[in-house]
Amino acid sequence: MAKKLPKVDVVTIGVGWTGGIIAAELAKKGLKVVGLERGKDRSTKDFLMVHDEYRYAIRYELMQDTSRETVTFRNEAKERALPMRQLGSFLLGEGLGGSGVHWNGHNFRFLPYDFEIKTMTEKKYGKNKLGADYLIQDWGITYDELEPYFDTFEKMAGISGEDNPLGGKRSNPYPTPPMKETVITKRFKDAAKKMGLHPYHLPSANLSKSYKNPDGEQLNACQYCGFCERFGCEYGAKTSPNVTVIPTAQKTGNFELRTHSNVTRILHDGKKATGVLYVDVLTGEEFEQPADMVAVTSYVMNNNKLLLTSKLGKPYDPKSGTGIIGKNYCYQILPGAAGFFEKERFNTFMGAGALGATVDDYNGDNFDHSDLDFIHGGSLSITQTGIRPIQNNPVPPDTPRWGKDFKDKSIHYFNRVLNIGAQGASMPHRQNYLDLDPTYKDAYGEPLLRLTYDFTEQDKNLYKFIADKSAEIMKEMGADTVVTNKAAEKYNIVPYQTTHNTGGVIMGADPNTSAVNNYMQMWDAENVFVIGASAFPHNGGYNPTGTLGALAYRAAEGMAKYSKQGGSLV
């Protein structure tokens, strides 16, 4: 029997970027917030030993313990889904700050096109550009409406950047100047300019200089040490929830953080949530935490899973096309090209997760798709994230995978290879979705989430086009050999690709085609707010954090309003 605790105003399920933002904003307004985090507490001082590629990047020190919780996967519905037994294609986070600890810090705003993708695509290319199996839809909010929230997130995070000539309008410049120009970023920019493209420095959450954010949190200057993605920052120079919104929430006295607290259910009466059920992971004790508002703020996977196991919202059925939860699961398409330079060596081992340069000439609808067999595109970037020796063994094509020749070439080319990579947009397809697995269970006896996903024709066409563009820039940069990446026939969950999973609890203006409104408020349960990239109706041509951060500030405003007036916010 669960022990019932005193009621609070707000409970957040997970304390990463979205949970942290909700906690900070509502606690500042005087609401009592409890944050339930399944993992352990951690802060900057826990990252002193972080320059350890093996422990963090290979053995996944900061990632989810899949012996307790994972997903099952199949390419298509006629196959039997099997567990992702070890992390691969994406790296789910665990612990305070969530993936906000081990991100690289690429902080973009989705394009105005993204938010009105259906309307704008149909207007320009007609109704049948992609066909009925692709479930693109407008987000129920425009870029201009979301702009103030982007601005708030960027100021909180101290983002370092410069204007994107092809991006949406900004009300304010970035709070800190762009990161340093290096031989590599300059080489990319010079080549891009020569080709008539519009390069700019990648907007970065590795800060170019020390910065005090509007909440009074001190962020430090990046040291370019080369250990960002998969690592935490020992300098407090990569913005994370742990150095910003979580301490901000704690300073109010209105926020109580409970770590090792794994939520297993959202409790509700069919109309509204009454609270959550959670397990103390260390003792096995079960607790009921009643709350006036529930913020579902874990990663995409668990946001979907919790709604499904709690029977909140209508599960998506791919056969009939009805229902919402689990629908429009999207990923990211990652075309690119590698350049091998025989006569030059680059300081590729130095860098920062978000040190780079980008062009958006092939992103969104910044180029004409009339004669193309896909929509959207992707941002193309060169990044200098800091390469490390276990993971980076670049060899020219046709080199053996092991032995003398492999060793010799992988050593020779270690500092002689540059990569251009795209964050390609991913369009929803009716056969790509999330539901509950009928067989496999987690450590609490709950079903695992089941992922059914494969790349579509749209994905492959986008891939080829963008990969060729990457190769063109790489050639212009002067590489002796350019290797254009090839699209995979099938999505494979084994090799790492990206931790940019989106969708399943999508936002929109219509309760028939979306799970939450543009305040992330559930249509089916007005005091439940489901916040994160789970709300994206499709995935854009950028890393998702900047956009989900903006949506979290929008949700926080909605929850504050709801605490006063109740009812639907739209």
Binding site: T44, T66, A221, Y235, G236, R388, I411
Partner: protein
């Protein structure tokens, strides 16, 4: 020499102290912090000739951890060592897997979380999946290595009437290629899975921080011009020329 040693120890202590200050947060501003780190690095660089004399930061020259935690039969360890050396052989670049201590690295890893798949989903059922669904064997990594090594021994006996580690390099490569291409029948797992595990483990042992028992003397890093753990590249990130920097391991924190 002693004086230099002391100086660099102090530097590192100061680095740790400064880093704690960062962790403390409020006590120190970011601007000041940046300056401290910059000074720190300069001092570190001034004392670096000391390190160039070949001081073994790994601490495993005559290391106390060069014994077996996992393997019980030394012959199996020798087979593993021979196979690892073929994957990453000694050449003009520098030492191979054996010279780098990779077999010890693998042995130690097999004894712990890695070998026992402790952070991985190991609940059944285990039906055969598609290649895109990934690893679906009930075998733990240490069992896969046991089976793989058993088959390496068996095949070399059968084909050459010799122990695997007594074969010529070419003969060893031929057998390893059979594993790589999935031609060897193994119990509970396909031979490509074993080979891929072995290949990854060899590269991990060659290039992981020496604290894990491989990458002896940071020679793996030196071959690749990888400087390992460095506090900051702030003063070098804009450099036009390639920087060769003496590597440093995490032992730097504990001197």
């Amino acid at each position: 020499m002693a004086d230099e040693e002391q100086k660099s120890t102090m530097t590192r202590r100061r680095f740790i102290r400064n880093s704690s200050l960062i962790a403390g947060g409020a006590a120190i501003g970011g601007g000041l912090l940046g300056t401290l780190i910059g000074m720190n690095l300069d001092e570190e660089e001034r004392t670096s000739p000391n390190k160039l004399t070949g001081h073994n930061q790994s601490g495993n020259g005559q290391a106390s951890n060069r014994a077996l935690m996992y393997f019980t039969d030394k012959e199996n360890f020798q087979v593993l060592s021979a196979a690892a050396e073929r994957i990453f052989p000694e050449d003009d670049n520098g030492p191979g897997a054996i010279g780098l201590g990779v077999p010890y690295f693998i042995d130690h890893q097999l004894a712990g979380n890695y070998g026992n798949n402790t952070r991985e989903y190991m609940q059944g059922p285990f039906p055969e999946g598609t290649p895109t669904q990934g690893y679906q064997s009930p075998l733990k990594r240490h069992q896969i290595f046991d089976e793989g090594i058993r088959m390496l021994k068996e095949i070399s006996q059968k084909n050459h009437q010799k122990k695997f580690d007594e074969l010529t390099g070419e003969e060893q490569d031929k057998i390893l290629t059979q594993f790589d291409t999935g031609k060897v029948k193994m119990r509970g797992v396909d031979s490509t899975t074993f080979f891929n595990l072995l290949r990854s483990a060899v590269l991990e042992g060659a290039y992981a921080d020496p604290l894990y028992g491989g990458n002896n003397n940071m020679d793996g890093w030196k071959m690749k011009n990888f400087p390992g753990h460095q506090g900051s590249y702030l003063s070098q990130i804009e450099a036009k020329e390639f920087k060769e920097i003496q590597p440093q391991s995490l032992h730097a924190f504990f001197k």
